[in-house]
């Protein structure tokens, strides 16, 4: 197992390396120029050719591409992530501030999706072709089909504008100094709507997978054996079927991470959640290279590490997997 972990880990480093080259190329080969952002329409001299040349020089945009990349890579591995071109803040500092918020939102959504989808999927499979099963199947189809941002608008309109139960924007109530438990509760209230929206897609698809995974296990020969030796139905389902049906869910969990991360970009923007996704969207709009690169790399790291952990968990849970 130790060697498997090391080997698997050794594969992720070149992976991140290639991802960084890919995103670097995308950003630097595409037309559009960050210097345009500094042009002040009221000061014509700020967009003069001389001024633009000075800015390009200062930002290192005139170096050949591979030199720019090498510089970026050296700085990044040394922990020097540079400064935002727009607000001149340190990218690493900004990331330290934003990433925990995204992890909070993503973690909450992940937990919610798991806590709902696994039990519902199990019940749906056991009570196959009942009203409950049909209702669940219908809901999961709707959950997969609705665009998350539209679902967000629906919930905002219902729970914020009409019922006035939950806040819809931000992470904390502004102009209120809350401390201790009240502050935690305030964040929790702000977390509910974006968290539910972010979890919707995963919740719906995991429910379907859990249902079909359990149904598949129930059809296996060893289930018939378990019943034939006189075990109670409850024991058969809980002890024999359930555990085996959860194994494919581990892979699914790892594979859903990119979706969850992508979802966070949209949902943080809709709900003005001060996370990495909103930072990234803002940086893309402003062509803020250092921030976009940092967001891409951190998001990829989260996904790659998630897949790594899912693979480990899979190898641990399924003794049929030989790790050599």
């Amino acid at each position: 197992m130790g060697r498997y972990i090391l080997r698997r880990l050794a594969l992720t480093i070149p992976l991140l390396f290639v991802i960084s080259i890919l995103s670097f190329l995308v950003m630097h080969l595409a037309p559009g120029d960050p210097t345009a952002f500094f042009a002040d329409p009221n000061k014509p001299e700020s967009s003069s050719p001389a001024e633009i040349a000075r800015l390009r020089e200062q930002l290192g945009l005139d170096d050949p591409l591979h030199v720019q990349y090498a510089k970026w890579l050296l700085n990044t591995v040394q922990g020097n992530w540079g400064y935002s071109l727009i607000n001149k803040k340190s990218v690493a500092g900004e990331m330290r501030e934003r990433l925990p918020n995204t992890l909070l939102l993503g973690g909450f959504a992940l937990a919610l999706a798991l806590l709902v989808s696994i039990p519902v999927g199990i019940i749906s499979a056991i009570k196959k072709y009942t009203l409950f099963d049909y209702a669940v199947t219908g809901l999961t189809f709707i959950g997969v089909s609705m665009p998350s941002f539209w679902f967000a608008l629906l919930l905002m309109q219902l729970f914020t504008n009409q019922l006035d139960w939950l806040p819809a924007v931000g992470m904390r109530t502004l102009r209120e100094e809350l401390t201790g438990g009240a502050a935690v509760l305030d964040v929790a209230r702000h977390l509910i709507l974006p968290g539910v929206v972010l979890s919707m897609g995963s919740m719906a698809s995991w429910t379907r997978y859990q249902r079909s995974s359990l149904l598949e296990v129930i059809g296996q020969d060893y289930m018939r054996t378990a019943r034939a030796k006189g075990l109670r139905e409850q024991t058969v389902i809980l002890r024999h079927a359930l555990k085996n049906s959860l194994i494919p869910m581990i892979t699914l969990l790892g594979m859903s991470l990119p979706h969850l991360v992508s979802g966070a970009f949209i949902i943080e923007t809709v709900f003005a959640w001060p996370g990495m996704g909103r930072l990234g969207i803002g940086a893309i709009m402003a062509r803020d290279y250092p921030v976009v690169m940092a967001v891409t790399m951190v998001a990829s790291l989260v996904v790659v590490m998630g897949n790594f952990l899912a693979d480990l968990a899979y190898a641990w849970a399924d003794p049929r997997i030989r790790y050599e």
């Binding site: 189809f141 629906l154 949209i266 709009m285 891409t296």
Partner: protein, 300 residues
């Protein structure tokens, strides 16, 4: 028995046989009621998208400030889905949006499929080291948050619907490539492929006449199920303001525009979102129906 030539092998699968197969698939597909419902919805949407110019009561981009006076106007006999704050007819804009969504869905997935087939077929046919490298590339693309890269590329390209189609297509080929690769690897072990190979059928012909047709069914299903993903991506891009170029209408951009009128004008944001959901749902149902109909092992 005479030796089988490649010619007679290909004669075996002549047209009456394949027509039979289509009838068989259709008979199977018809049993799936939701899939038939989805197909009806999609046909209606196609019809509406193709004849949008004829059906639209108004030019979707024509503003009418005298009518709207800065506020969205509710649905009426003249404007079935109301107008936005500029007085543009929402029904006409929704029709234009159907055109955008469906064409993005089909073209983007077409690009993905073409790429996926070529890449997956190369990996599966050659195997060995080439397969190893391609699998690694697929893994890389699967672990990048592709939506963010699509956003980034789109932000740097001049905004246009064609760029969106190409970019979504370029980042969506991985699933098909994996599928085709797996099919090829499995088919290569089958007797009929070994037989064809041993009588000297050249590689290219082996791929196009024997391997690809047999890998076709799962690719069709994957394509049908990938279209809603492309449609959702386009609407998300347009919703974030990185999609179609204003004033062009897309369901996503209509929703973006409606955000400011959430409480006051439901007709601005309910229909576009419902249309996206309905379209995606219909494609999902049709895809499910096709999967059941095309899988010979499920047939009773």
């Amino acid at each position: 028995m005479a030796t089988t030539t490649p010619l007679s092998v290909s004669k075996l699968k002549s047209s009456p046989n394949s027509q039979n197969q289509i009838a068989l698939v259709w008979r199977q597909f018809r049993r799936h009621r939701l899939a038939v419902g989805g197909l009806v919805v999609l046909c209606t949407l196609f019809f509406a998208a193709i004849f949008a110019d004829v059906i639209s009561p108004y030019d979707p981009n024509r503003v009418n400030p005298q009518y709207a006076q800065g506020y969205p106007k509710p649905p009426s006999g003249a404007h079935w889905l109301g107008t936005d704050e500029l007085g543009r007819d929402s029904f006409s804009r929704a029709l234009a949006g159907a055109r955008v969504s469906l064409s993005v869905g089909f073209v983007a997935v077409g690009i993905s499929i073409a790429l996926g087939i070529v890449i997956g077929a190369t990996a599966g046919f050659y195997g060995g080291r080439i397969d190893n490298w391609i699998t690694r590339v697929i893994d890389i693309f699967l672990s990048v948050p592709t939506f963010f890269l699509i956003l980034t590329v789109n932000a740097y390209l001049p905004p246009s619907i064609y760029n969106i189609m190409v970019v979504i297509g370029l980042f969506g080929w991985m699933a098909v490539a994996r599928l085709v690769r797996a099919q090829f690897l499995a088919l290569k072990e089958k007797e009929f492929i070994i037989a064809a190979h041993s009588v000297g059928v050249p590689g290219m012909r082996l791929v196009t006449r024997h391997l690809l047709p047999n890998a076709f069914a799962p690719v069709i299903v994957a394509a049908t199920l990938a279209i809603p993903g492309a449609i959702l991506t386009e609407s998300a891009l347009s919703f974030l303001g990185l999609g179609v170029l204003p004033p062009q209408a897309s369901w996503g951009s209509m929703l973006e525009n409606a955000q400011g009128w959430l409480t006051t004008a439901w007709w601005m944001w309910v229909p576009p979102g419902a249309l996206i959901s309905l379209t995606v749902l219909a494609f999902n149902f049709v895809g499910d129906g096709l999967r059941d109909a095309l899988d010979p092992f499920l047939r009773r």
